[in-house]
Symmetry: C2
Subunit: 320 residues, 2 copies
Amino acid sequence: MNEFELIRTFFARQPVSRADVAAGIGDDAALLRPPAGQLLAVTSDLLVSGVHFLPDVDPHSLGHKALAVNLSDLAAMGAEPAWFMLNLVLPEADTGWLERFCRGMFDLAQAHNVQLVGGDTSRGPLAIGIEAHGFVPEGAALRRSGARTGDRIYVTGTLGDAALALQHRLGKHRLSEHDFAVLSGRLDRPLPRVREGMALRGLAHSAIDISDGLLADLGHILEMSQVGARIFLDKIPLSPVCRAHVATCGWEAPLAMGDDYELCFTVPPQNVGALEKLRLGSGLRCIGEIEAEPGLRIVDKSGEPYRTALTGHDHFAKSR
Amino acid sequence: MNEFELIRTFFARQPVSRADVAAGIGDDAALLRPPAGQLLAVTSDLLVSGVHFLPDVDPHSLGHKALAVNLSDLAAMGAEPAWFMLNLVLPEADTGWLERFCRGMFDLAQAHNVQLVGGDTSRGPLAIGIEAHGFVPEGAALRRSGARTGDRIYVTGTLGDAALALQHRLGKHRLSEHDFAVLSGRLDRPLPRVREGMALRGLAHSAIDISDGLLADLGHILEMSQVGARIFLDKIPLSPVCRAHVATCGWEAPLAMGDDYELCFTVPPQNVGALEKLRLGSGLRCIGEIEAEPGLRIVDKSGEPYRTALTGHDHFAKSR
């Protein structure tokens, strides 16, 4: 199977066909019609085997996740996803692998009505580059820099589950077979909070997705907004498995490990009523408040300061 | 130097600042304002060390070329470049390497007024993902599928020079020191034919950039347009060095090897006069004509058919 047959077989057939795609796969560039009066939101990620995922990862999960992390970035801007590009470097044209990779990717694409519009394939060590495009009305985008003193800090879903599943897979922390089955989906097939992000337009002052851990990602909001915050450990939403884990092993998984792809966002008090009426499927939990004083203060369940050296993921940190 | 310092030091400072960038580097996604009434052209490439470039490549050339190949794709659509995203996977935060990589990339970005608007960095085996965005008025885009019987086939610049420089560097073909000095710039710092591509709007029926070799890339136009062609070997534009090489070693370099990043395009006879008045810096040469009969016929200087098994680059071809 040559490069062009491979593209025809796996990528030219896809579930989504949008009217705003003037030319998709097959020319030097895709030609797209952005809607008038909206901003174009663009994000991209490059995932390399052995760095961003384990070499023996299930290709269905990899296809899902490579797209999911980009849709999650769009969600964190309040953008509606529309199109994506895919660049694949593959060790070989393994049709079984490609079928499962494409199924994982295109099932998620179909769920969000995003169309693959271009990219490239070549041979080499496995790597995946995806770029996703979406739209958001001017003025409605959720920025990291918008948090204001008095805003309530919220997160969607539960935190720490993906980290526990990863620790189990790496042999660093043992989960029961049942618990791993429950949590592995959080690691392998995270659900980008696209609907939640769009619903937050006009309500939230700021947002980010939690890819590097709550402390690191909330830290970005605080830094960009030049504010501080106070959060309460006993308000952080945890699954039953993670709650049991925290009781014995502490807070590292929900606070400082990434891969949850939940949203963290801030809402001014006057919008809290409207927010809590949204009844989003992921759930929403208020975990603290933005304060004028710089820095992040963490309060434990007895009301005492919780001190930690935990930080989020940094690819170039000296200790790594 | 951590990931965020690295982004601030090398990527947040850049020569181009466009009014249509509502938010660039530093949030979950870039926020961009495409112009009303134009199509958005999007292209992307993923370059991996040891596959797409030699591991000891000069970082200045690599920075230039990683952006150049994407601008070349936009040029082949007749699009005006505007923005790009960069994803870098680096073995280490080597500041000297990064400075030179950024200089190569940003010098070219400045020449074409394209702004870096986002991306990511992480640690791992060297890989570079770039996506470039541009604009082209609806109806003016140069498609691979637009060639019609009777169109004249043109190429810009000269063909085969980058291939000869690469063969020399790989030790497969020896050039004199002087000749290598002349040709190495064609391999390391190809000039994307952006001005030429935009000038062809309304004149050319079809276009492609020559990245995989003339025969392969013209072949894409023929296939997508469902036409054939006749080209004349003695009309193919060659540099003096390549002409001497062809006389002894044959036509593989200019016909079947890539990396020239010149444009190949077709123009109906009634537009030839306007085309030849353009006086583009790269030069233009008519090399043949589109014919109704499928297939590509190559004619040598004595008027005889030139038979060849030469094909262009295919990353998944069985023989590789």
